[in-house]
Amino acid sequence: MADQKASTSIEAVESGLAAQGYIASRQIATAVYLSQQIEKPILVEGPAGVGKTELAKAIAAWRGKKMIRLQCYEGLDEAKALYEWKYAKQLLYTQILKDKLGEVLGGAQTLHAALDQLHDFGDVFFAKEFVEPRPLLQALEQPGGCVLLIDEIDKSDAEFESLLLEILSDFQVTIPELGTVSAITPPTVILTSNSERDLGDALKRRCLHLHIGFPEQRLEERIVESRVPGISQTLRRQMVGFIHEIRSLDLKKLPSVSETIDWARVLVLLQASELDTEIVKDTLNVLLKYEADIEAATPQVTTFIAKAARSNVFG
């Protein structure tokens, strides 16, 4: 019975994401469903441009939640990711305090009594009002929950990973002066990585590991269909078939889904009705981002178009 519920829920995730224009494979939908159920972050790996960041956006839009994004880069530290004290405000506060100090301590006769009175005020200096929340703290403070996207975690330093561990496993952070801040509603956390460096085991252990590769031909056609509605079915098939042929080449950077979508838009703009050698050669720079790649692919264009056309007839 639980199984029934699970598979319908996974389908619900799939259709929910599809409504936001994100065509998810079964595996992606399962990951999203599981991360919700067992409250774990998802670590998404895969080549650039297969829709890792897009997935987080789609989830946020589908659930109607705010998306908070933290873009990682080398040198990112807790002052930029977690929280920072509002120093200028604190400085101002000390100025005011200096002026008012005489009034407040007016009644005190001895230094000891004055100190006692000062202690009664409590530690206002390091209070919540002086904390400037950065993305991670913001995410914990959203009353309705949110989608927290930690983008390109592999670009950050190894120390930063350790900073994330507390958030990822318990959805809380500890600020030394204030104590522990727990999430009001646990956010949905998505981390993305281009595998530029190997992430630590501690981080990986806390996440569901999802690898998004290049989609299958059918799936990619559906993605193009949803993103570029104006394209005709034959052209869609041909171009996706052509891209799959291109991916079999040994290139510096293979075209990924985002390139497919860009190319589809270009072809629609150029009002192409079907692929021919001329138009492919003119627009190849949309797909391939290196001069060497374009040179390597150009001689193959005609054969690939023929192959793509042939696979259409049978497929």
Binding site: A2, D3, Q4, A6, S7, I10, R26, Q27, T30, A31, Y33, L34, Q37, I38, K40, E45, Y87, A88, L91, D157, A158, E159, R197, D198, D201, K204, R205, L208, H209, L210, H211
Partner: protein
């Protein structure tokens, strides 16, 4: 099901996927959520929670497929015919059953449970019995292929082979045809059990067997490994490269706590009138290794050079810059070939250019000094890999001295054992005076240690 999942975790560990207790708890929770009826979803769920990289996903996927494809209880040809007979007999209403087959259709009373099960051809019951007997015989402890026999017999014992033998003896006297059928069924059972054990071996013993093989391979002399082992050795070298990468690709900036960077602190606090709210500390930059490798590719050293170059060139994350040169009688640069081509192609191209000559260290060093001396900087580590056997030609050790003076370190790796240095045409002692380190490097393990030490000097 819980039991099965635990066995699957063991199998996953056998397949080289590190499954920690915490991950197995996650997997359990995930499985509780998705259920077990849809195998594809179950597979996805386990892959998501247990595997933490693309390699692990592949390994775990294979492991999953193997684990959940239990061998079917096997039916031999005559047995199948007998089963048909029996099935025919059973298809007919029992009242009209033919007299001759009545005895075979219903197994007589007084037999042991195993005999009953075999005679009634209940596949599911047999499969279940084998599974539980495998559990009782702790099949998941199997480690080596030589243990197959003992595990098979343990499983059969646990299923009640003794009782079956007694029944068989008894039947031979009373009902020979039934005894014949039972004997055939027993043979089929033996085969099924053997398949189960083989599968268990593939599932649970892979790690152990691989470790053993790798251990042997690590200590085998690189120059003399057989052709069929070359691919395995390449895989091993890649593994070593990964390990070195993980160890040494740590951040290269380190804060020196306690040393205030006054300039940066003032600039950072300009907004507060120079009141230092934020402090900036001095940082220490660590260089990434720059390596210049000179590899002898003549004769017996070629194989070692091949693996060495493969290792050095798969350390991109750790090593900033590698220039490689190959020589036997003269020297050429090979960095680009190694970067752009697959290891096999690159090596054969290098061999066709400079390989197979008799080595002449003197003229190769002259080549290097003439063209490439400018590649050396005070941050460079120069690694020479060769046996220093120069066929009694001038060794030109003076050039090596100049190389040593221009570089950070000069490391000589010699595939020959220390005992052979200096004998025959070996110029090792003469070269060794100018080297920071000279070490033997004949096996994969020694290669790993040598490269690890070189990289560690930059940390």
């Amino acid at each position: 099901m819980r039991e099965n999942l635990h066995r699957f975790f063991r199998a996953a560990r056998g397949a080289g996927v590190r499954v920690s207790p915490a991950e197995s708890i996650d997997a359990m929770r995930a499985v509780a959520q998705v259920g077990i009826s849809d195998r594809a979803v179950l597979r996805d769920a386990l892959l998501l929670t247990l595997a933490k990289s693309q390699d692990e996903k592949l390994a775990l996927g294979d492991c999953f497929d193997l684990f959940f494809s239990q061998p079917e209880p096997r039916q031999d040809q005559p047995e199948a015919a007998a089963e048909d007979d029996a099935a025919q007999g059973e298809d007919q209403p029992p009242s009209s059953g033919s007299a001759s087959e009545a005895g075979e259709g219903q197994p007589p009373q007084g037999l042991g449970p195993l005999a009953q099960m075999l005679l009634s051809q209940d596949r599911n019951a047999i499969a279940a019995a084998i599974a539980s007997a495998s559990g009782a015989a702790s099949l998941s402890d199997i480690r080596y292929s030589t243990q197959r026999g003992i595990f098979s017999s343990r499983i059969l014992d646990a299923m009640g082979l003794q009782r079956l033998r007694d029944d068989l003896d008894q039947l031979t006297a009373t009902n020979p045809s039934l005894a014949e059928r039972l004997r055939a069924a027993l043979d089929a059972l033996r085969e099924t059990v053997r398949d189960t054990v083989s599968q268990g071996l593939a599932l649970y013993a892979r790690e152990e067997a691989e470790n053993l093989r790798n251990e042997i391979l690590r200590n085998a002399p690189l120059a003399r490994i057989e052709r069929r082992q070359v691919a395995e050795m390449r895989a091993l070298i890649r593994q070593i490269a990964r390990r070195l990468r993980e160890r040494y690709s740590k951040p290269r900036k380190r804060q020196r706590r306690g040393h205030l960077d006054v300039r940066r602190t003032l600039r950072r606090n300009a907004a507060w009138g120079g009141v230092p709210f934020l402090t900036a500390w001095k940082r220490k930059h660590r260089d990434r290794p720059k390596i210049v490798a000179l590899c002898d590719v003549s004769g017996s050293v070629a194989q070692v050079s091949d693996f060495f170059l493969l290792l050095i060139h798969s350390l991109h994350e750790v090593v900033d810059d590698v220039r490689s040169f190959a020589f036997s009688s003269h020297l050429i640069e090979v960095s680009e070939v190694l970067e752009t081509k697959s290891p096999e192609e690159a090596m054969s191209e290098i061999m066709s250019k400079v390989g197979f000559g008799s080595s002449d260290y003197g003229s190769s060093l002259v080549d290097f000094e003439k063209e490439f001396m400018s590649t050396l900087t005070p941050q460079t580590t120069v690694i020479v890999l060769g046996d220093a056997r120069s066929n009694n030609l001038d060794p030109r050790a003076d050039i090596l001295r100049r190389i040593s003076e221009r570089s950070k370190r000069l490391v000589w790796l010699n595939p020959e054992g220390r005992l052979a240095w200096g004998f025959g045409d070996s110029e090792m002692p003469r070269y060794a005076t100018f080297c920071s380190v000279v070490r033997q490097c004949a096996t994969a393990q020694q290669l790993e240690r040598a490269v690890s030490d070189i990289v560690a000097t930059y940390q």
